[in-house]
């Protein structure tokens, strides 16, 4: 059945085309083939004012088996492409770690043995290269990561053909957001807005308080660094289902960074921003000023590390931080050199976060 999946067929076809081109270069043209793969990362990420998100630049890396360094890389890309093709031929799916194991081998002879992959990072890079060369995101060729995103609230999903109502049991538990997004469908949404929080612990607390029912909200978390499925779900809810999206993360540069993954994207996935980023998401908290506005006691505050401070200085210069409000917030942080987790509100009582802080913030933003 999925063997006839046209998307899969297209990926297989593209991989075969890459292989054909490589062998044609070698056998007919008698030149070493070159794979020209867009560079991913810090030095090839551009802020797009128009799209309000991080996008990939036009720097590319020429990977050709013509130097000591690139011969292994070239081989890795082709081996990975072939492994993806096999996976699709066999109608299976795999995690990125699974792909690492599937392609694991040693190279060289007894005297000079090397690992094919130094670490899973290398194989993840190779998967990225296959994505970039085929122009197809890896979820489309059934390579996923371990799910860690969670969702609760008045939304119905169809996962693998079965309906899942995420409002059921939403006082006690959340649903994992599947990473094999090809098997997931949003069937119905009855909420008024979507609230994304940084950590699952905070989500649990808010859910338990009856927040979902009281405000008719969908609660989501990426459990720290959000995976692609979570980001995509947020985007779809915002853009296709017209749900306002608000984001709450810890009041430290790291938490702020995570909140921004949803809103502007990230350097390592800048090539995929169009699918992943929700520019209309509002980052509402926790603001550095909230530490003082809500009188978080000193014992619950943490001293900023040197890394935090450097990060904040960096952020201040970024084009997406030129808003006065954010500059002010960063200045507050740099002045006090203190940070704070959302969990710190528990010091004011276990219900304070869900029943006082969040409603106040949401009301200010006009969401409720």
């Amino acid at each position: 059945m999925p063997a006839t999946d046209k998307r899969h067929q297209e990926v297989i076809k593209k991989i075969k085309l890459i292989m054909k081109d490589v062998s044609a270069d070698l056998m007919d043209q008698k030149v070493l083939p070159v794979l020209d793969v867009p560079k991913v990362g810090y030095d090839n990420t551009i802020w797009s004012e128009e799209k309000r998100m991080l996008t990939i630049g036009d720097k590319t890396a020429r990977i050709s088996p013509d130097s000591t360094k690139k011969i292994p890389t070239f081989a890795q890309y082709l081996v990975m492409a072939n492994a993806v093709r096999k996976l699709l031929d066999e109608e299976m799916e795999s995690t990125i770690r699974g792909m690492y194991y599937a392609t694991l081998s040693t190279v060289g002879d007894e005297k000079n043995k090397q690992k094919f992959w130094n670490s899973q990072e290398n194989s993840d890079d190779a998967i990225k290269a296959v994505e970039l060369l085929t122009g197809v995101p890896r979820e489309e060729f059934s390579v996923t990561s371990k799910p860690k995103g969670m969702i609760s609230g008045p939304i119905t999903l169809r996962v693998g053909g079965d309906l899942i109502d995420c409002s059921l049991g939403s006082r006690a538990t959340s649903q994992l957001i599947p990473t094999n997004i090809r098997d997931v469908e949003i069937v119905d949404v009855k909420a008024d807005f979507v609230m994304v929080v940084e950590k699952d612990t905070v989500l649990n607390n808010i859910r338990k308080s009856g927040f979902i029912q009281k405000y008719n909200a969908i609660l989501m978390t990426g459990s720290g660094e959000p995976d692609r499925a979570t980001r995509m779900m947020v985007k779809t809810l915002n853009e296709e289902w017209k749900m306002p999206v608000v984001v709450f993360a810890d009041a430290d540069p790291w938490g702020l960074g995570i909140a921004l993954r949803y809103k502007i994207g990230s350097e390592s996935l800048s090539y995929d921003s169009d699918r992943l980023v929700t520019p209309d998401a509002q980052v509402l908290g926790m603001m550095f000023s909230d530490i003082y506005r809500y009188n978080i006691p000193e014992v619950a505050r943490l001293a900023a590390s040197e890394e935090d401070i450097n990060r904040a200085h960096d952020m201040k210069k970024k084009p997406w931080f030129q808003d006065k409000k954010w500059q002010k917030e960063l200045n507050i942080f740099l002045e006090h050199e203190e940070k704070c987790e959302l969990d710190a509100f528990f010091k004011h009582g276990f219900k304070y976060l869900a029943e006082t802080y969040l409603p106040e913030k949401l009301r200010e933003a006009g969401v409720i």
């Binding site: 081109d21 020209d36 081989a75």
Partner: protein
């Protein structure tokens, strides 16, 4: 006054102690028994110590400390022999033997024989036994200078054993061989001749025209470390003396270092001291030499120092505010003035006739056939052949092996580097002319980095860490060789390397030779050179010169090495790549592998030759794959829709094979206008567009799938609203 009085009483007390004895100076007896008499409280006795006794008590001054006794003995014997040969321009042939005589008592028999000039029979006992008696107290470069080494061996032999020191000498003048059995009277620094005889032809041990042989029994321990230092010492000596034959025999076997050249360095000549190095002592000594001739100071100065003309001497005396009068008519204050003026006066640079550098020719011979002693640890299990085979494999060099195969045995291995270079500088260090020589040998049989240090042709083996050479090597940047640290680290990454300094990863031997009559040694043991004055500067400039000299060749070597490692990589990775391709598409994998291998080899050899490798312009990009996929798809759609022009169809059918990448490109250019826009997007754009651009098609095709599901439902909702 008080003090003087005290001292006087002490002296009285001392002489009172030997009231009945005659004064010590007259008495031929050593003052030793007197020492044993107890002194009264607060009394101090002033005694004179014989040189021999002083050196035995302070043997560390001459380097003879516990562990190092055998090492120092070997060193002194070889150095004496080489000096003796070179002083008369004789090609040295030296046989050294070091064997365990009595393991229970740590007794060693050490012997050394040379074909040098020998020592006249009447001088032998003093030359062997009396400290600070030497024919070398002159201003010229020699290995030994102090007249201590051989005497130390004699004294230690006397001190620790009841064996005599045996000496055979056949001097150039006498032509007859003499045999001596000697011991040292340590208390008086005088030789004790136990036996002296002239040998008849049939008793002769020395076959050469002249020569010297010494046999000593010493009590010493030999740790493995010291043993390897002795081996190093002999190996390194052969590097800077390739004109010498060195035979070396131990309990582990016998090795021979061949003579590789008959060229010998110019022997050093004795020269006059340089005036800028003058002090009161040298000046007074010079005046004493002219004592009987009533020479004026001007004459003494110009006759006793180099680079000092009569005119210059006159000027100096004038500048010191003195009259020119017979030299012995000056008092010390006046002479000090002369010295002061000399220190301030500029003279020509001292000449270097008294120095004997190794020279480019000889050092190059030494470097290109670097001998090292290797120890085979093959136990009884293996046959002799096998043992030798083992070393051969490891060393990959010519073997000259001998000895008992059942024991760990020593052999000589010759390292042949891929390239060598030499550079030298003459300079003045500490007011003494100094010649710095530097050589490097790279690659070939040389497997790792090493610094070789020589001072006046003597290898320095200890305290490398504090030697100026070490500083020089770490301060001269490797990029003078035209290679970067990064390249080196990539090509020579060696997990066993002790240091992560890039230069020390190279298969490079660096040789420094400093010759001067006054080497700034750090310690009395003469094992490392202090980083003094200008010396370091000159050494650095020598090494920089060399790095520049070899840069072209090293770069080539590096390219070769890179090429080699690349060929290995191809060997390992091509099957993987071919495997990935042939599993995905129908292709003749044997032909593909062949084509790839040929191409890879061509690429590598092309790069070694330095030919510019043509850059492939038409890379495989996501865009191109997109286009090719789009081309096929697009063409199909067009065909189905009957929109493809006849021209395009003709172009397609004209090609028997499925379109190759470049052809596809051309075609794409042609069909561009008719291909749906979304299909031709940039891959990244395409990736971005996946959700929206294609969802319709996907939805139409399969009903409900994938990512677009979210939005498909979204459409529903919107339509609801």
């Amino acid at each position: 006054m008080q003090r003087l009085k005290q001292k006087a009483t002490v002296e009285v007390a001392a002489s009172a102690g030997q009231k009945n004895a005659k004064p010590a100076k007259v008495n031929s007896q050593p003052p030793a028994p007197v020492l044993q008499q107890p002194l009264g409280r607060g009394k101090v006795r002033y005694d004179r110590k014989a040189e021999s006794e002083f050196f035995v008590d302070n043997s560390a001054l001459a380097g003879f400390t516990g562990e190092r006794i055998l090492y120092m003995a070997v060193r002194e014997l070889i150095e004496n022999s080489l000096d003796s040969c070179e002083s008369s321009h004789i090609l040295p042939h030296i046989s050294l033997s070091m064997k365990m005589l009595d393991p229970a008592n740590d007794m060693w028999l050490i012997s050394c024989q040379d074909n040098g000039i020998g020592i006249p029979s009447d001088k032998v006992p003093v030359a062997v036994c009396s400290f600070l008696t030497s024919g070398k107290y002159v201003e010229k470069q020699q290995r030994g200078l102090f007249g201590v080494g051989l005497k130390m061996i004699a004294a230690f032999s006397t001190k620790d054993t009841d064996h005599p020191l045996k000496v055979w000498s056949k001097s150039e003048e006498e032509k007859s061989e003499h045999y001596f059995e000697l011991r040292t009277d340590i208390g008086t620094n005088k030789p004790i001749v136990l036996l002296k005889k002239t040998l008849k032809a049939d008793e002769s041990r020395i076959t050469s025209d002249s020569g010297f042989r010494v046999e000593a029994i010493l009590r010493a321990r030999l740790s493995p470390i010291t043993k390897s230092k002795i081996y190093d010492y002999i190996s390194q000596t052969s590097i800077v003396n390739p004109y010498a034959v060195l035979e070396f025999e131990t309990d582990d076997g016998k090795v021979m270092f061949d003579r590789r050249t008959t060229v010998m360095p110019q022997p050093a000549k004795e020269v006059l001291p340089h005036p800028s190095d003058m002090d009161l002592m040298t000046l007074k000594k010079a005046i004493t030499n002219f004592m009987n001739q009533k020479t004026t100071l001007q004459g003494v100065l110009s006759g006793s120092f180099q680079k000092l003309s009569a005119e210059k001497a006159k000027e100096i005396i004038k500048n010191a505010g003195l009259e020119n009068k017979p030299a012995d008519k000056y008092d010390e204050h006046e002479l000090i003035e002369i010295v002061k003026v000399c220190k301030k006066t500029k003279f020509h640079t001292p000449n270097t006739d008294h120095l004997s550098p190794i020279g480019e020719e000889i050092l190059t011979v030494g470097m290109t056939s670097e001998y090292t002693i290797v120890t085979s640890r093959e136990p009884q299990a293996g046959t002799k052949e096998k043992a030798e085979q083992g070393i051969e494999d490891a060393g990959n060099g010519k073997m000259v092996a001998a000895g008992n195969p059942t024991q760990p045995q020593i052999a000589v291995k010759i390292l042949r580097p891929a390239l060598t270079a030499y550079s030298s500088k003459t300079c003045v260090v500490n007011n003494r002319p100094t010649i710095v020589e530097c050589g490097i040998a790279y690659g070939g049989d040389i497997g790792s980095f090493k610094i070789f240090r020589f001072a006046n042709k003597i290898p320095l083996l200890y305290d490398e860490g504090s030697d100026v050479a070490r500083e020089v090597v770490s301060e001269v940047e490797i990029n003078k060789m035209g290679i970067s640290k990064k390249e080196v680290k990539e090509q020579f990454a060696n997990p066993e390397a002790k240091s992560d300094r890039a230069v020390e990863l190279l298969p490079l031997h660096i040789f420094f030779h400093v010759c001067s009559t006054k080497i700034p040694y750090k310690t009395a043991g003469k094992e490392s050179i202090a980083s003094e004055g200008e010396l370091k500067h000159y050494m650095k400039s020598c090494l920089s010169d060399l790095y520049r000299k070899v840069s072209a060749q090293i770069r080539k070597e590096l390219r070769m090495k890179e090429a080699q490692s690349r060929l290995n990589l191809y060997k390992y990775y091509i099957p993987l790549i071919v495997g990935a391709i042939s599993e995905s598409i129908k292709v003749d994998s044997i032909k593909l592998e062949q084509a790839f291998t040929e191409l890879a080899e061509k690429h590598v050899t092309g790069e070694i030759a330095g030919a510019p490798v043509p850059e492939k312009e038409d890379a495989i990009t996501g865009k191109r794959i997109e286009e090719e996929a789009g081309e096929e798809k697009g063409a199909n759609i067009e065909v189905n829709k009957g929109k493809v022009s006849a021209e395009q169809i003709a172009a397609k059918s004209a090609k028997p094979n499925p379109p190759r990448s470049r052809q596809v490109k051309e075609e794409v250019a042609k069909v561009k206008a008719t291909v749906p826009k979304g299909e031709r997007a940039n891959p990244v754009e395409k990736l971005k567009a996946t959700w929206k651009g294609e969802k319709k098609t996907a939805k139409q095709a399969t009903g409900q799938t994938s990512l677009d599901v979210y939005s498909a439902a979204g459409d529903k909702k919107r339509s609801k609203r």
